[in-house]
Symmetry: C2
Subunit: 520 residues, 2 copies
């Protein structure tokens, strides 16, 4: 068994069964080992931003890490943006980054770079294996470190990979469990919830589940607290049968308004809400001045256990609370725009779908329109770096092959990791890409106005920088070029037909939905 | 004048006149300032790897830096691979990376990241401006640091950008000149060239010019030394009228053979040759054991001056040396493959074209076939990270609008920065993309064999990781989707017609050349 084989065996034995790859020469022994060791599914991506974004989507749905295989420092660099997104979402990933042979590094060959330096800012744990006998132990430690919410990056020098490793494989031994919330913190929370000052419970994190929603609704009914989710929880169960919980708006001005009058803010799985960006004359902090903030449970803590304890304290474990009743709107007709597109989505959304939301402005209406649609999971962008949607849909579809994935995607954001489409085709993934093609960086038009730059009115050069028409992109053509069937939708009826087809058929379908930019 | 305006004014006054951009909210005041300050050409790219690759190509041809505008740490991350390539090629770039407002960083908003940490491994100089009054001085220093061959990264917090800066603009004052080579080093080189031990002069670096080639040929004629270029000099003048200089082969085994018997190796503008990757049982160092290596001039030293001194010492300044005579092969006919494609390129290559070479295996024959074609510049990948070709062609075309750019591109490598096509269309750039579509990571098949993994024979999973057919990509469709006219070439005649059209017409054209993989 060589180093690469013991590495893969260790990953498989530790429960890491998928590897999203974009390999190069220094990783050839790892690639070769995939045929020597059973149990690792290898998914080829044509760009490393797809690799890391797919690992993100996989982790969100599988609730365990996938591995990535990246080619030296530049390959890791290409993966950085979606590793940032995964890190901000507390999602686990095990990166394997090939490096030159240890003895070759001194010669500063063209692809030599400071891999651990590049990995540092996006990793919780970085390690370079020095010898073949270390690789199994190091890989087991990487899986352990990834645990439930960390990025672990293991650098694998080529000679460590190709040399014989008589020590064989190892395995991560401890299954990482969410940390229980301390009794004194729970006690304090009960105290807060007992008095009658206006209190908000805000929930977020890796997975706001159906059960969590119901527990929260019971707690709110028993205590009079208001419920909110953070703006972009990584994953949340929504639709028919789920509790009614609004989300904190994205726009700082609206978020501040939503939290007005709140005197206590209890946080479950999320951080204190802050403005996504800074703007002249808009506060960074969104809760009212003087509001007390109680971070009860972080994203890696036992949120369910904390909720059970609180419910027990209020003897509120079994009340019947109102849940969303299924409301499916009729299919829309007439012009295609953000609203009719959202209505069509709500009409056709199949039971237990996974929605990946990177539709930015054009998909704004999709969230409220689907609040009482057939039950589904909704995946948000936790780290703010666009280019996560298409690859996350790849990863979600690999994690949940029996479920339909619907990726709401903007034209601008799609272009960061457009290579994802090819992997959808290669792996016949059950993904509908609903691409809102409005020929603008529409969010930036809004943000330009919000920053007050140039009195909020872009001059010709600025306007040109926000306008991604000229030339218009034809996403149907791009998708077909990568092997994904695609249709153009110019009317609500077109979109209805396309969604009906996408839901009925297996495999990927891209819908190039030509919508006017949202007017703000 | 606000911080952003003084920054742009400073860049323009320091000779930085192009900005490749992919902005976000934190850069909106910079974008707004483009309309307030005269003289900065703003080129929008849809992905940051295009931004940095375009800056690379621009620097190679303009011999001065462009600026980039990148959105926070993740945007910089997306740019990293081509910044690595530029760094390895000693090319100057000034990166402007927007950050949150200084007072907002403490709140760890979703897009907060360690920007200077991410910048470090690819930058020679990194600085974050603390106040609007500093920005002009800092920007001038960034241009100074970029000088002739460095990556300078300036972080621009949003509040520094939007706040008033009563100090106004500044400008880089010193024009950076190549460092003269010390007399004792020149003296030593003369000594070496005087004796009759087998000596190789190897030249490389940012620009192996026509004049340098002639000087080298004279020096070789006068001293009996052999001439070689490094494997991948960033830029080299070739074709009719240029001196005859072979290049060191890429494959370590062939490079070792080429250097066999060499006792002295004089380096001009390049480092001592090493194997691109390490392989079991292949040496990392390519010159023979015991060969003395004399690094006479680095890439930032005055190579021309050093050559003049050596020629003077040998009284060899004016000999007539043989130069390549124009040899244009006839247009090919019949099947399209790597050889007939190379012949077609050599036939149609217009005078003073710029060839960007990322054709990997399929373009191997293009280099020898064009050695006596119409005179041209050839741009190589110095840093080894694929995805440089298409964006470098964008940058070269912006730098040299009067010249035809021909980008030799592999299908695999094209997909890393395929978004470049859109910028070619938007800016009506005079670029022919000759895309070799062989449906393989063909170089990796070769490298797999060279590493000896699994006895050199990929198993089914490994083979699948090297095969990017299934589904086949249709690059004509992809290009048209981004607004670039495209044709498919299945025969040599198809390619002839396409190249003739590309040379005759202005604006971009992609040729999807369906070639069989090279057999090794």
């Amino acid at each position: 068994m060589n180093g690469a084989e013991s590495l893969i065996q260790t990953l498989v034995d530790s429960g890491v069964e998928v590897c999203f790859t974009n390999p190069g020469t220094s990783e050839m022994h790892f690639v070769a080992a995939l045929d020597e060791v059973e149990g690792m599914r290898c998914v080829l991506c044509l760009f490393e931003g797809v690799v890391s974004g797919a690992a993100l989507g996989y982790a969100a749905m599988a609730e365990k890490p996938a591995s990535t295989l990246l080619h030296l420092g530049p390959g890791l660099g290409n993966a950085l943006a979606n590793l940032h997104n995964a890190r901000k979402g507390n999602l686990p990933i095990v990166n394997i980054v090939g490096d030159h042979a240890t003895y070759h590094l001194q010669y500063d060959a063209p692809l030599t770079s400071d891999i651990t330096g590049i990995a540092g800012p996006v990793s919780h744990w970085v390690h370079s294996s020095a010898a073949p006998a270390d690789i199994a132990r190091d890989a087991a430690e990487a899986v352990q470190q990834a645990g439930i919410g960390q990025i672990a990056t293991l650098v694998l020098p080529a000679d460590v990979s190709w040399s014989d490793n008589p020590s064989g494989a190892a395995a991560a031994t401890r299954k990482v469990q969410p940390a229980p919330v301390a009794a004194d913190k729970l006690h304090k929370a009960v105290e807060i919830l007992r008095d009658d000052r206006p209190t908000v419970i805000m929930v977020g994190g890796r997975n706001v589940s159906e059960a969590q929603g119901v527990k929260l609704a019971r707690l709110a009914a028993a205590t009079g607290a208001r419920l909110l989710t953070e703006t972009f929880p990584v994953r949340i169960r929504r639709g028919a049968g789920t509790a009614v919980i609004d989300r904190l708006p994205y726009l700082a001005e609206l978020a501040i308004d939503t939290l007005k009058g709140t005197e206590r803010l209890i946080l479950l799985g999320c951080a204190s809400p802050v403005s996504f960006f800074a703007y002249p004359n808009v506060p960074s902090v969104l809760e009212p001045e003087g509001c007390d903030v109680y971070p009860l449970a972080g994203p890696n803590d036992d949120i369910d256990g904390a909720l059970d304890s609180l419910l027990q304290a209020f003897a509120a474990g079994s009340e019947v609370v109102p849940l969303r009743e299924l409301q499916v709107p009729p299919a829309p007709s007439g012009p295609l725009d953000a609203n009719s597109a959202a209505q069509a989505l709500a009409h056709y959304l199949p039971e237990n779908a996974i929605v990946v939301d990177e539709g930015i402005t054009s998909a704004l209406a999709c969230f409220p329109f689907t609040s009482a649609a057939r039950a589904h999971d909704w995946i948000n962008l936790a780290g703010g770096s666009i280019g996560f949607g298409l690859p996350a849909a790849v990863g979600a579809a690999i994690a949940c092959p029996e479920r339909k994935v619907i990726c709401l995607e903007g034209d601008g954001s799609a272009m960061y990791t457009i290579q994802s489409l090819w992997t959808m085709a290669r792996e016949s993934l059950d993904v509908i890409v609903l691409l809102f093609n409005n020929r603008k960086y529409s969010i930036l038009e809004l943000e330009f106005a919000r920053t007050g730059a140039r009195g909020g009115k872009p001059g010709p050069k600025a306007a040109s920088s926000l306008d991604i028409g000229n030339p218009d992109m034809d996403f149907a053509s791009i998708a077909q070029g990568m092997g994904v069937p695609a249709v153009v939708a110019n009317t609500a009826e077109d979109l209805n037909a396309a969604l009906a087809r996408g839901v009925a058929e297996a495999g990927p379908l891209l819908i190039d939905a030509r919508v006017p930019p949202l007017q703000f």
